[in-house]
Subunit: 279 residues, 4 copies
């Protein structure tokens, strides 16, 4: 009889909006939560015995209940509260993972000032947090998904291997666009998470903007190094930086030159570069 | 034999990035262009005679060539240049339409100041322009697609028809979220298009933020009225405002109240409300 | 004061699954419905008076109620039932449109035979129907969205206009791929809709497969002609056939030839070809 | 200084169509390939030295070259050929992974017979293969992504944990819909891959169709067991079966009953169930 190796179950895409109504303004928060349980669920798989299964519908309800009973902001704390709630009530689980994505809603400005109860969504980038672990301890990670950034200077790619199928031209001046996804691991679970998140993000953006890039890998490393150097609270960072190519258009057949001015942005194929940096 | 009624052909999703390199900074522009021709193309359809067909591949090349030869900014002028080029060289066409979408790239800030050659994309909203018409004249329209906005106060929905299948509860306080798409028609083709576009957009956002909304229709009308009142250059406006429902979660079965605080944002089903306002 | 030109409102993306349980098998149907009303709704827009507004939530409920009270199959009849229901109960509306998309669920086979209650979805193509009109009469249209088809023979593109920006090479042998969308108008409202739909679709597929294509337009016309010739119930047909280019890969720089064998399928840019054929 | 932990780079979304032209018919194959390299690339990351970097553009070219030089069918062999080519020419890499997705193109029928050079795409399901490993050996896995299947009988969910936030009703008769993704590991690299793939898929579909399901986990296990029992070539299988809920519509407020007939299919939230089964 086959045996179960790693397995997990839970609920994904639990969407939630919370409005906190202050006298002078409202705060709006939108998150999407995923909850995954691990434990000894063999009897459910093998014989259909559900007596150790908390329904995923209940996980969803729990997200709404805890959002009513306490803060959703910052998401790293909300995620820890969810994790502790589930561990407390569910002796059958040995590990869990809570993943949260938070949408960016910016206040709309009217006559130059932020309006108190109107918001505009900006994306596709979302802030992320992951709370994972077992009863011995939880790790807290934070990050960003799909921040689309592009630099038009200080990027080249030269000196690489040329094999018989290599046709790419070396260049000291290319566009460098990516949809950056980062996830960094905190050393503690009781940080001022919003401030630290913003500080890490400033480090990422500053490195990307100012680095003399000799390759995507080279800049990815510089970003990771900047985050680890500037943030002692961060133990490690995983960076994924797909190379979203902007191809220089060959205008010669049209009787025109193209001094690095006109490009075709493309979605596929794309380079994939990812690395984890640790102290 | 069947006869051809309205027909058109062209090229869609022609993507272009243009970098303008100033001494102190770069400007970055990303657009996506669609070109559609109308004319007497019966012989192509009926007998496969392509002698009156400009290939859509050539339309694409023309976008890149004209972007090299002149400005892409503002898109309303770039679109007019494309239209005039195509009319000049193609006596076989009687009407055409140029649709342009422009992505929002914001400068990344480093140490509080905008960096000269690094940009971040914000969406899903895109600025739009449409140049359409025949040899007698072209109309210029501008707009925005998919601006996701939400207000948490001053929105209700009451006093509507109740039929036997009506279960919706009347409310004087609900969330009002939408993905606003607007397209407005200019009375002239030689405006300072970037400034006017920003002025119209401020009108849209101010109306949405400050209106005491009794329904989506009610606010849609107020937005249209504000744009027409505040912008004599605008002759008419088409507004589409899907009602992206945020449903109040019923927490009573969980033993909790929910004083308009916890909501589920949903993508489907959604309300669809659209109207054109004219002077 | 601005006046309202054309306006409409309703509900979109109302999704429904209906299971009909026969002794020997189940029938499964999945549809997505959109309902749009037109009428004199000025007082709602201008002054927020909702007394003439049937909530879109009620439209949604009505879809579920009528699906329980009568057949959803064929969708052309379900749409007519919805239209008549809404006209009957809502004197304030003057026109309406019901759009229905039906998903393709095929029975799963076990040991070579169709199993009675297990289904697999196939897409992205969906069958469509539109019921539209006023109190004087409704038109019934049917169609298909996004049928992705490709032919590897009998397709060329030659003899077109060459202007200074034309670089496309003429070819008598290319791949021809498209995501065909068709919508045809019936002359009557009481047809055996499932049978007719299948007959029309066979005509579309046969024409696409067997036509000696000299251009996308040429084949589009042949498809339309075949449908109108073969189906007296059809009064007119609108066809949209984007040209989803498969580009021949230039293998010469890699030291290889490429006798029309290796292609890159692309999503953007794409040609756009659409036409309406009438008797 | 931070150190590099696991890192990899490569090319994603390399799309390819190959047409094989037989006297009586054409064969059409569409695949999308991803290639990822691991090795000692520290000098690239840390100092921008690209001398050990094969450009991802070259990886893309290699896919096209090898598709011209040999068969793409079956994808498990094509993937092995790619892997061996890259290992042979690139001493700097220690591990690699080749992921291939193959689109389903079915022959179009004309007058009841398959036509020789016209095809229709069916999805969203795609066949997959993964070749991964180091110079000591490669593993070959195969699978399917996103097969959307639904059963209307023999599915219940009862006897689960009820905590204070549980509101889900127990049921012995529900719809069970999922988008099944499976990946199984072969014990050998020289199998008749197309035949084995079809045999495994029949096992998956038969189990899903005939199982008396007491939970998603219960059926997932039965599917895995069926595959392992029926296919000695398969060493282990990873199954992911999100629970795409079809919610019974409460028609009571509309004055109607609903004997398990009318449902709302939903995309979010969804259950997530995944497990790996080994011998």
């Amino acid at each position: 009889m086959p045996s179960l190796a790693r397995n997990r179950y839970g609920k994904s895409r639990v969407r939630l909006v919370k409005v906190v109504r202050h006298p002078d303004r409202h705060d709006l928060q939108e998150v999407m939560v995923q909850i995954l349980f691990e434990g000894d669920f063999d009897s459910c798989y093998v014989s259909g015995d559900n007596s150790r299964i908390l329904p995923t519908d209940t996980m969803k309800n729990t997200v709404y209940a805890l959002a009513r009973q306490g803060p959703v902001d910052p998401i790293e704390v909300f995620g820890q509260n969810l994790a502790q709630h589930f561990f407390r009530g569910n002796p059958q689980i040995t590990r869990l993972e809570i993943d949260i994505e938070e949408t960016f809603w910016h206040r709309v400005h009217v006559d130059g000032s932020p309006q108190g109860s109107t918001f505009q969504k900006h994306g596709p980038h979302v802030r992320t947090a992951t709370i994972a672990g077992d009863r011995e301890g939880l790790t807290v990670s934070a990050g960003i998904n799909e921040m689309i950034i592009l630099k038009t200077s200080d990027s080249g790619f030269e000196g690489y291997i040329h094999d018989p199928f290599t046709t790419l031209r070396e260049t000291s001046d290319r566009l460098f666009g990516t949809a950056l996804t980062a996830k960094w691991l905190y050393s503690r679970s009781d940080l001022p998470f919003n401030d630290v998140w913003s500080k890490v993000m400033r480090g990422i953006q500053t490195s990307f903007a100012t680095h003399k890039s000799l390759s995507v890998q080279h800049t990815l490393y510089d970003i990771g190094r900047a985050v680890l150097d500037g943030n002692p609270e961060v133990d490690e960072i995983l960076l994924s930086m797909p190379n979203k190519h902007c191809l220089l258009v060959d205008l010669a057949p049209l009787g025109l030159d193209n001094p690095n001015e006109i490009f075709v942005p493309t979605d596929e194929p794309h380079g994939s570069i990812e690395a984890r940096l640790v102290r």
